[in-house]
């Protein structure tokens, strides 16, 4: 089975179009061809809960920005962590904020990881690689 055929899904919840584009490019340049589902605000993210209930397949990992229009990232996280089996999908906070309170709040609600988006594109690509490698390859999810 070639890597190409593994259609694991990554969900990226991010409002900034530049960040969306760069993240997608970073994943592409690393030849990580997982499909990326892009969600542009908190409301849309909450909307996905119903879609998953209706049978859409769950992503292997959710990358979540904190500062989102309409519904805040932490509220999205809170909503996701209430739902079963959605709560077992790892959520990686990918944000610019390195504020202690944000980090603490995110972990308290149940974030699985917290990554500060680097400004440097090289570093950003390395982050993308780590995310892909760790959550898609190394980490074992619930079968």
């Amino acid at each position: 089975m070639s890597v190409k055929e593994i259609r694991h899904l990554i969900m990226l919840i991010e409002d900034n179009p530049i960040d969306v584009d760069l993240t997608v490019r970073a994943f592409k340049r690393r030849k990580l061809i997982n499909h990326i589902q892009i969600v542009r605000d908190g409301e849309e993210a909450i909307g996905w809960i119903q879609k998953w209930k209706d049978g859409e397949s769950l992503p292997v990992v959710i990358l979540l920005d904190l500062k989102l229009p309409r519904i805040d990232g932490l509220d999205v996280l809170r909503a996701f962590k209430k739902e079963n089996p959605l709560r077992s999908v790892p959520v990686v906070i990918l944000t610019t904020s390195s504020d202690d309170r944000d980090i603490r709040a995110a972990y308290e609600i149940g974030a699985n990881s917290y990554i500060v988006k680097p400004v440097d594109f090289d570093k950003f690509m390395r982050v993308a690689e780590h995310i892909e490698l760790y959550w898609n390859v190394i980490n074992k999810t619930i079968p």
């Binding site: 760069l22 904020s97 594109f121």
Partner: protein, 513 residues
């Protein structure tokens, strides 16, 4: 001795001349002045006391006419009484105030009696007594005035019987008549404010039973007869009148004005406290806004920066073949600026985080602490071939590790940076202690600085060098100063241009609370 008696005993028995002589000789020796005036107003008789009272020699009086001896006397009251006595035989008693030619004043208690020979005058010099009386009256008046001015009065209370007397000034103060004030027990509920009555009663009882001689100061409210409430302060003395009766003598001072002012001050204080609370809330709100602001700086400034960095990188990588050398340089400069701006934002965030972080004091093993810190820079130290000297004996500093770490990291980074162009770069890290301070120093043999700027370098955004020579944001030493300030310590530096610099971190031994 009564005049009638005198008359009977000694006088005026015309038939008994010898007896008359005898009675006159009795009068001669009397201390009271005795004068007999005839119908023609001549002095028929004066005893020595009378001569003395008149303050003139006997020759000027004896046998002389009264009205001639005392000019202007005819216009006086005393003369008209004497005249009436002579003519109508009416006796009089009269206190005469007389001004002598030397302007001194004398008072004489006169008995003017008709006698067969004319008129008999018995005069007692009461000047001394009268003067004393006047003096007493004067001082009483002064006391009343003084008490009136001071808005005070006094009272005497027989504790066991309740018999009470108020001074005139106390009566004035409370608008009562002295006749209203007899029985304290009946009066108290009328004059003492109901909210203070119990307290006042207890105070009097306790003071009396304590057996001490003083009535301790107390403040309470009294109700005047016109229903006006005044605040008073009382203090006094306690004396035993006899075995069964205790006397309280006390002053009552009207302190209404002070009390009202005091109440006003308390009210103002409460308002002030409320204002402080309000202002603090406002400040807290502003502080929170500031925290949100720094969060926004972190989030909103970095996102576009990431765009600039990302796309310029992609541009260089994907289209470098299409770009001339100069265009590539431009892009590299753009990327350089991005990195610098990113650092600036990071430093600013550290600076604002430092302001809000909570100090946590703990013992720090300095030797290990510095070794760990230098590990962070081991690559740079190796690359630049810097020789490091550590001169720290086994010592423990009690302080906030985060603050110290931040300060020390920045000055070590500076030392590495400013020795970058030295052939034999050397950095010494050492420590010294006094009774009150531990001082850590970092000494380098780098480019140094002019001491003229020794204070300025700790100000935010102050740079002494071009960024292309020595990169930096101008926040590092401001962070150092701020961190030390939070520890109640200080940071300072000594240097000479091109002769190295030494930075000192002075940390108080008594930890900040």
């Amino acid at each position: 001795m009564e005049v009638e008696e005198l008359k009977k005993k000694f006088l005026f028995d015309k038939e008994e001349d010898n007896e008359k002589k005898l009675s006159r000789s009795t009068m001669d020796n009397m201390l009271e002045a005795c004068i007999i005036l005839g119908y023609d107003w001549r002095y028929l008789y004066l005893n020595d006391a009378a001569v003395k009272q008149c303050r003139r020699p006997r020759e000027e009086l004896q046998g002389k006419v009264f009205t001639e001896v005392w000019p202007y006397i005819e216009n006086t009251k005393v003369f008209s009484l004497m005249k009436d006595c002579l003519g109508n035989r009416t006796p009089y008693s009269y206190v005469n105030e007389y001004e002598f030619p030397d302007k001194s004043i004398g008072w004489f208690d006169l008995r003017i009696q008709p006698i067969p020979e004319g008129v008999f005058i018995l005069s007692v010099d009461i000047t001394t007594r009268r003067k004393a009386e006047l003096k007493l009256q004067e001082s009483e008046k002064r006391l009343i005035h003084a008490q009136y001015i001071a808005k005070m009065g006094d009272f005497t209370l027989e504790f066991e019987t309740g018999k009470v007397t108020w001074s005139e000034s106390l009566c004035n103060l409370l608008r009562y008549k002295q006749s209203d004030v007899i029985d304290y027990n009946r009066l108290k509920s009328k004059i003492i404010h109901p909210d203070d009555l119990e307290r006042v009663t207890k105070w009097l009882n306790d003071s009396v039973t304590s057996g001490k001689g003083t009535l301790p100061t107390n403040e309470y409210r009294l109700i005047c007869k016109n229903k006006k409430v005044i605040y008073v302060r009382t203090l006094g003395i306690i004396q035993k009148k006899d075995e069964n009766v205790t006397l309280l003598f006390a002053t009552v001072l009207d302190i209404t004005k002070q009390k009202l002012a005091e109440i006003e001050v308390k009210k103002l204080n409460r308002e002030l406290e409320q204002r402080v609370i309000d202002r603090t809330k406002q400040l807290e709100r502003m502080n929170n806004e500031l925290k949100v602001f720094s969060y926004s700086v972190s989030h909103d400034l970095k996102a576009p920066l990431r765009g600039i960095d990302g796309y310029s990188k992609l541009l260089l990588e994907i289209y470098s073949g299409d770009l001339v050398e100069e265009a590539q340089l431009f892009i590299r400069n753009i990327r350089e600026s991005t990195i610098q701006m990113n650092q600036l934002i990071e430093d600013l965030l550290t600076y604002s985080r430092l302001e809000r972080s909570v100090l946590s004091m703990r013992d720090i093993d300095m030797q290990k602490f510095i070794d760990d810190m230098l590990n962070l820079y081991q690559n740079e130290i190796k690359d630049k071939n810097i020789s490091i000297n550590i001169d720290i004996s086994n010592s423990i500093i009690t302080t906030d590790q985060n603050s110290l770490s931040l300060a020390l990291r920045n000055i070590i980074e500076n030392a590495i940076k400013f020795t970058a162009k030295e052939e034999n770069a050397q950095i010494t890290i050492g420590m010294s202690s006094t009774k009150f301070y531990d001082t850590i120093f970092v000494k380098d043999n780098g480019i140094g600085f002019n001491m003229e700027y020794h204070d300025k370098i700790f100000d935010i955004f102050q740079r002494l060098h071009h960024v292309e020579d020595y990169p930096g944001t101008g926040i590092g030493l401001a962070l150092v100063a701020k961190a030390m300030h939070r520890l109640n310590g200080r940071a300072y530096a000594k240097s000479e241009p091109y002769n190295g610099a030494t930075f000192y971190l002075e940390i108080p031994k008594i930890p900040v609370l």
